[in-house]
């Protein structure tokens, strides 16, 4: 997970990651319409639920699938989250299934009445969590962006607009990103929303290329910078290191070097290749040695 290219946001980002806050997650597998889709959507939601319930304890996880994935139950869970979440917390909504878009309004297909993007926005706006992520992986999901937009909310959709109506494969790769360590491209043992998105987007594109099919979905993300700071999943020792007060000075030094590396990378095109490589190697060595000390 990469935060940003300047020092100040890096520190803010680190603070955001370090804060002992909870993450509220709701996953909903909507109406399949036919057994194959029903099975697929339910399977993906089950797998997501299992991944999210493993390891970390600072997460509140709710999953709705099959006959339970109704509008009323969705409203109930979101109301519960609205009552318990605090501004320091994070909130994630993942929607798997079919959507529709009539040119004006997006709807998420559920058993019984569907829920529209506008209705969803009203429900989500009641949740006080300061950082929010909506991952709408349904067909036509691009049609939901306008209604769901909010300053503190990152929105990921499987399609670029409401007019991409075919069933999507993006959800399959989003879930895969949560369990594939390769998705953690900066190897900090945390998968950010941006890393998961990049992973799923690339795999989705490869799917259509390999199958020799015209791509009928083009995933979108609206806030890359905020998405890079949105920790979806932590594993390994990541959390332990950042919360160890004894090593605070070393960690601060380390963050400074990371900042310098980011600055250098930002200037890569302005430097001679040899000069860039020399400076980068020096910083990376320094960082490596420092990490050795932290590990000791």
């Amino acid at each position: 997970m990469r935060c940003t290219k300047t020092l100040l946001p890096i520190l803010l980002c680190a603070a955001a990651l370090n804060a002992p806050a909870a993450t509220y997650v709701l996953t909903v597998a909507g109406l399949g319409g036919e057994p194959d889709y029903e099975q697929r959507f339910t399977g993906l939601a089950t797998e997501t639920d299992k991944i999210l319930r493993t390891g970390q304890t600072d997460r509140v996880v709710e999953t709705l699938k099959g006959a339970d994935a109704t509008k009323a139950k969705m409203e109930a869970v979101l109301a519960k989250f609205a009552a318990s979440a605090r501004p320091a917390d994070a909130f994630v909504l993942m929607m798997i299934g079919h959507g529709t878009y009539d040119g004006v309004e997006y709807k998420f297909n559920l058993p019984g009445p569907d829920v529209s993007a506008k209705e969803l926005a009203t429900l989500l706006n009641k949740i006080p969590a300061g950082r929010q992520l909506v991952v709408n992986m349904t067909s036509c999901s691009g049609g939901s962006v306008e209604a769901l937009k909010k300053d503190n909310r990152v929105i990921v959709t499987a399609t670029k607009s409401g007019t991409e109506k075919n069933a999507t494969v993006f959800a399959r790769y989003w879930v895969e990103a949560l369990r594939d360590p390769a998705a953690d491209v900066d190897k900090n043992e945390t998968i950010s929303a941006l890393e998961a998105f990049n992973y799923a987007q690339k795999k989705t594109a490869e799917f259509y290329t390999e199958q020799k099919r015209i791509a009928t979905e083009h995933p979108q993300i609206d806030e890359q910078q905020r998405a890079s700071a949105f920790a979806l999943l932590r594993f390994g020792s990541a959390a332990a290191v950042v919360t160890d007060p004894a090593k605070r000075a070393l960690i601060t030094k380390k963050e400074e070097i990371e900042g310098k590396i980011d600055e250098l990378k930002y200037q890569k095109s302005l430097l001679a290749p040899d000069d860039y490589k020399k400076q980068l190697t020096a910083l990376l060595l320094e960082l490596s040695k420092l990490q050795d000390q932290i590990d000791k």
Partner: protein
């Protein structure tokens, strides 16, 4: 090109055009002066190359005289000449509805079929002759088809029949000239072509379809010299220069044709293809040149380098010759780009094509994963390069194709194509051709799968000769064909038997090999359905038992719904990984290519600590679908575990060439492999590349520290 009457060379077209005009005008005189003026105007506009104007006139004329079949035929001829055979055919068919005996409409349809090397062209031309026995162009068309089928006797008869009606029939004269020149004889017919460029185009066409591109190019040049405005010849000259890799002159000729409104599909697509060359990277080696699309060069280059080195070494020894010029290999990720290369050529040409020392082929990424074995195709095409080189392009199609198919499985038994249900059906229906006539199956197929069946048959004939008389006999035959001798003579002299006797022996051997599959095919189909039903019901024991029995009937079937997969899944359902591994091992050994199944086998082997076998299984997949990041990652790891760091370096480089999501991991693994190879400076570079992507990646930090001595920069 002689097949297509799309040339504005009015000299060559004058006779049929004027005959038609005369006939039509005579018919119209009875109908009134207004229509006569209109047809004359349409023809005049056409002659003046105002094709839109002529089209408008014909449209008005047909609207005014809807019952006149002749007008529709002439309008169809205009469409045909201006690269629109679909509309031409529609008009010919409309004409035939009005007058089923309209000979020129029947001829028009025959020409369209012949242009696509359709098997029914001769029959259609025959119908035209029945409608008008004096239609010498129908004899000319039949002569052309016969010569394309390598049947000079019939070609001579038909050309002579055309000349008996019209002693100056250009195409008949040209076909006689082509037959002489193809037989390496001086031709008394060639001077009779005189200054009629189309005649030289016809001869050039025959050179080209017999893979004698250089001589074809010379004839196209001659056509242009006598008829500089013969734009079809400029186009064909450009296309054939492009085929041989002479791109600068090719582009000039193609652009000249295009600028002069000669814009048939071949010209337009060839120009588009040449424009796309800027997206390609070219790599030069002492004996070969590789050209890849930039986006996949990094992945494919190492594998093609290895195979080219291997195939050149093998064939140098086998064919006892060294190639005089470097071979150029062009690999197209977009099948349509590759298809441009084969437009207007007979045969399948679906995967690769050889033009003397230039090979154009599909990239593995141009096909769905598992449907294409690129190394097999490369070895196939390379065999053509050697055979064409040794014979100076004097070799029948069946033999060079058969030998190339033979070489695929000689390289590795699981390479090459498996026996398909279409082939079994052709054998059952006795549709295989005698060796003396097998070329026909490649050029003018009479049923849908005949080209595939012909490749199979020719390949098996070469296998049979190799087994019965030894591989050296195949080389002897190549040298005999180089003397431009016909198949029947070579069979008689080299194999010491009559072609008919050879056919009998060969068919008996083939029956011994595949008779069981042919006889049991109907039952096999039924049983496969039953196994699918049993699998659906979860009856694993029955699937395994029945599946293994069915496998023995037709073991070559490895496509969708193959029995190996059913059995392997049933084994896994029972938790018997050894059984699944053995079954998938059989699938892979016999040539199964579904990447997911092959990877599944490698995983089972890996889990069973059969690491070397797992690596070999994945190695096989690099010949089938190398554009798979997971494949390189797993094979790289296995290679390191097996103490083969050189292979690991290759695999991790290929992985990086695919621009993987996990850049840090890929560079780190390459650093490990390089370090294991003792290439520490390169390893350090890769460690830095890994950390550039992920500065806090501990394993890469550790390797960087290790490779930097005491850690000081």
């Amino acid at each position: 090109m002689m097949r297509r009457a799309n040339s504005p060379d009015l000299v060559s077209r004058r006779r049929p055009v004027m005959t038609a005009v005369a006939l039509t005008c005579a018919a119209l005189l009875a109908g009134g002066a207004l229509q006569a003026q209109t047809i004359a105007r349409a023809e005049a506009l056409w002659k003046a190359r105002d094709y839109d104007g002529a089209n408008g006139e014909f449209k008005a004329l047909v609207a005014a005289q809807p019952k006149n079949a002749d007008y529709r035929v002439r309008w169809g001829d205009l469409f045909y000449e201006r690269f629109n055979p679909a509309d031409a055919q529609k008009l010919y068919e409309e004409a035939l509805e009005l007058n089923p005996k309209q000979a020129r409409a029947l001829l028009g349809i025959a020409r369209i079929i012949a242009d696509q090397f359709g098997g029914k062209a001769d029959e259609a031309a025959q119908k035209a002759l029945e409608a008008d026995p004096k239609l010498y162009e129908a004899h000319e068309l039949m002569a052309r088809i016969a010569l394309e089928d390598d049947n000079p006797k019939k070609a001579t008869e038909q050309a002579d029949a055309a000349l008996a009606i019209n002693p100056d029939a250009l195409e008949a004269i040209s076909i006689h000239a082509a037959m002489d020149l193809l037989a390496d004889k001086q031709s008394t017919w060639l001077p009779k072509i005189g200054s009629r460029g189309v005649g030289y185009e016809t001869v050039a066409h025959f050179y080209v379809i017999n893979r004698r591109y250089e001589e074809g190019i010379e004839l196209y040049r001659k056509a242009i010299a006598v008829a500089p405005d013969l734009y079809s010849a400029h186009s064909q000259l450009g296309i054939n220069l492009m085929r041989l890799g002479r791109e600068e002159e090719a582009l000039k000729e193609l652009e000249f044709a295009y600028e002069n409104h000669f814009r048939d599909a071949q010209t337009v697509n060839s120009l588009r293809l040449m424009e796309s060359y800027s997206k390609f990277d070219t790599f030069h080696y002492p004996n070969f040149i590789l050209r890849f699309n930039k986006k996949e060069a990094a992945v494919l280059k190492p594998y093609f380098e290895i195979e080219m080195t291997r195939v050149l070494e093998t064939y140098d020894k086998k064919y006892q010759t060294k190639l005089k010029t470097p071979v150029q290999i062009e690999v197209y990720p977009d099948h349509e780009d590759f298809a441009v290369r084969t437009m207007g050529m007979p045969g399948l040409g679906a995967l690769g094509v050889t033009f003397n020392s230039v090979i154009a082929m599909d990239s593995p990424s141009g096909r769905p994963p598992g449907t294409f074995h690129w190394a097999s195709t490369l070895w196939h095409e390379m065999s053509h390069v050697y055979v064409l080189n040794i014979t100076n392009e004097r070799v029948p199609r069946w033999f060079t194709e058969g030998l190339a198919v033979h070489e695929e499985t000689a390289a590795a038994p699981d390479w090459g194509d498996r026996v398909t249900p279409e082939i079994l059906a052709a054998m059952r229906d006795k549709k295989l051709l005698p060796v003396a006539e097998i070329d026909r199956g490649f050029v003018h197929p009479t049923y849908e799968a005949q080209v595939i069946v012909s490749y199979f048959e020719a390949g098996r004939i070469c296998d049979y000769i190799g087994q019965r008389w030894g591989e050296q006999k195949l080389l002897d035959m190549i040298h005999e064909f180089a003397k431009n001798r016909p198949t029947v003579d070579v069979i008689r002299e080299q194999l010491g038997m009559e072609p008919e006797a050879f056919d009998m022996d060969f068919m008996a051997a083939l029956d011994k090999e595949l008779g069981k599959a042919v006889a049991g095919f109907g039952d096999w189909t039924k049983q496969i359905r039953e196994i699918a039903a049993l699998a659906k019901d979860g009856k694993s024991d029955e699937v395994i038992e029945k599946g293994k029995a069915v496998e023995a009937i037709y073991p070559d079937y490895v496509e969708a719904g193959n029995v190996y997969s059913f059995v392997a899944d049933a084994c896994l359902a029972k938790g018997d990984k050894t059984c699944a591994m053995e079954e998938l091992g059989r699938y892979s050994k016999i040539g199964g290519r579904d990447p997911e199944r092959v990877k599944q086998l490698a995983k089972l082997q890996d889990e069973a600590s059969r690491k070397k076998e797992a690596a070999a299984t994945l190695q096989r997949l690099t010949y089938i679908y190398p554009q798979d990041a997971e494949l390189h990652e797993r094979l790289g790891a296995l290679s390191l575990e097996n103490g083969d760091p050189a292979s690991a370096v290759r695999e991790y480089r290929a992985l990086i060439g695919m621009n993987p999501i996990d850049q840090a991991g890929a560079h780190y693994n390459l650093a490990r492999a390089l370090k294991a190879n003792g290439r520490n400076d390169e390893a350090r570079e890769e460690a830095v590349a890994s950390l550039e992507a992920a500065p806090n990646f501990r394993p890469a930090q550790k390797i960087l520290l290790e490779l930097s001595g005491d850690g000081k920069n």
